[in-house]
Symmetry: C2
Subunit: 271 residues, 2 copies
């Protein structure tokens, strides 16, 4: 995509940069969208973060992240609910139309139990989401995270869940890292249709040295980013932001100005 | 399962032991089955390995492994075919009724291309499998291996493939490590029915320190081994061997006699 008008970068992608730096650098490079991680809001009033984005002509396209619904006791359940409400309020305050949900999983619980807590947890937030006008965006995570990060692992599973709890205020964030391998991807993206409200790109490295922080830039690995982008567009009608979300110890250790240029080049060449 | 009559252990599980040692130790402990990795056949005639198993009253329940079908050129394709033929012959020679297939994947190829090579590769072996009376047992691997180890990642995908190439001489090896997270597991196991010809147990550790060699013994992690065993029995009618397949640098570093006792205890308590 030579046109950068749909490009957003997650603040976590350029982790060494704080919010003022990221805003200045993204804006100067012609990147219009920001995937705003909540840690980047710390230390100043939300109105100030919002103003910083506005002053640079930047749009917060998503607030990342809340979720983590499975609980071992009532206080954990309440804490998760409270934090999700807080995230929705933060998103509304900075103008982000969606909160990305990492649904959570407890290895102490059975899979069905984890999944029940998640469905009930999301359902309990719909009323507040509609009140503040912010969508809940379920990001299915790669099955290698099913033990402790998310028991929601495929688009198909999201579709089943949305059939159950409704999809007016709940959608799906499709991240290529988590879904690229799925043999049912095409049919489930088609089934999802307008439910897909977020699209994240990066790449899968061979070998993968670390299960969390060894993602690649688009083109560095084996994921067909362009093909999946075209799939969500043609099969689901997706035409919204394309968010670059790369966790990489390797890239974080490099000069971030040069890295930002590489991100933009990778976006043009491979998305 | 207090009854050990269906218990088999993969030689790779007790990696420090060579075949003579493994045979002696398994037999002495009342373990009747062996998942025989091909490296354990090296260095002696197949007839001698077979006699060693027989003399200890042991049964080779599976030969592990061949597969690796995707290729970048004609010579790689031929080499994979030859090695699979060799594995079928080896299995027949040691009395193993199935060869476990790790299907392979090349990060340089697209997923559809990898999957086409796999389907065609397996189909090309059916004639020889029927000739020597050994089944080809497709082991879907966890999606975290989709880049370079196997582009076959779910039971559902195996079912689709077997619908296409037939299931008289091709079946499925269901390993809990690879399939435990799958939201469609119950329906696809039911759909598979008699196609499931192998069942492997172990556990998923939290955290997982290494993507290959940090499996747990049953009960050490979050997998519901007993529940999945009951599922393959009730939904698919599976009543054959239960194979303990644990790759663990941690366990390999311990005293293997004590470890064998732990394996048997874990089987009794958690399978």
């Amino acid at each position: 995509m030579n046109d950068l008008s749909r490009l957003a970068i997650h603040t976590m992608t350029t982790k060494p940069w704080d919010l003022p730096t990221a805003c200045a650098k993204y804006a100067a490079a012609g990147v219009p969208g920001v995937g705003l991680w909540r840690q980047w809001l710390d230390g100043r009033p939300l109105t100030e973060s919002k103003k910083m984005l506005d002053d640079h002509g930047l749009k917060a396209v998503s607030l990342v992240r809340s979720g983590f619904y499975p609980y071992l006791n009532a206080s954990e359940k309440q804490a998760a609910f409270d934090d999700n409400i807080k995230a929705l309020d933060e998103a509304a305050a900075v103008g982000a139309p969606q909160v990305v949900l990492v649904c959570g999983a407890k290895p102490e619980l059975s899979l069905p139990e984890n999944r029940r807590h998640i469905t009930e947890g999301i359902a309990s937030l719909v009323e507040h989401a509609s009140k503040v006008g912010v969508k809940l965006s379920i990001e299915p995570l790669h099955p290698m995270y099913a033990d402790c990060r998310s028991a929601v692992n495929t688009i198909g599973q999201c579709n089943d869940m949305l059939d159950q709890i409704g999809d007016e205020w709940v959608g799906i964030a499709a991240d290529v890292y988590h879904i690229w391998w799925d043999p049912t991807l095409e049919q489930e993206v088609k089934r999802a249709g307008k439910r897909i409200i977020g699209f994240h790109v990066c790449d899968w490295m061979t070998p993968t040295a670390d299960m969390l922080n060894d993602r690649g830039l688009m083109g560095e690995g084996c994921i067909d980013n362009r093909g999946i982008r075209q799939l969500v567009e043609s099969a689901a009608g997706f035409a919204d932001w394309i968010e670059v979300e790369v966790f990489s110890t390797r890239h974080w250790a490099t000069d971030q100005d040069a890295y930002l240029a590489k991100i933009i080049e990778a976006y043009k060449q491979h998305v």
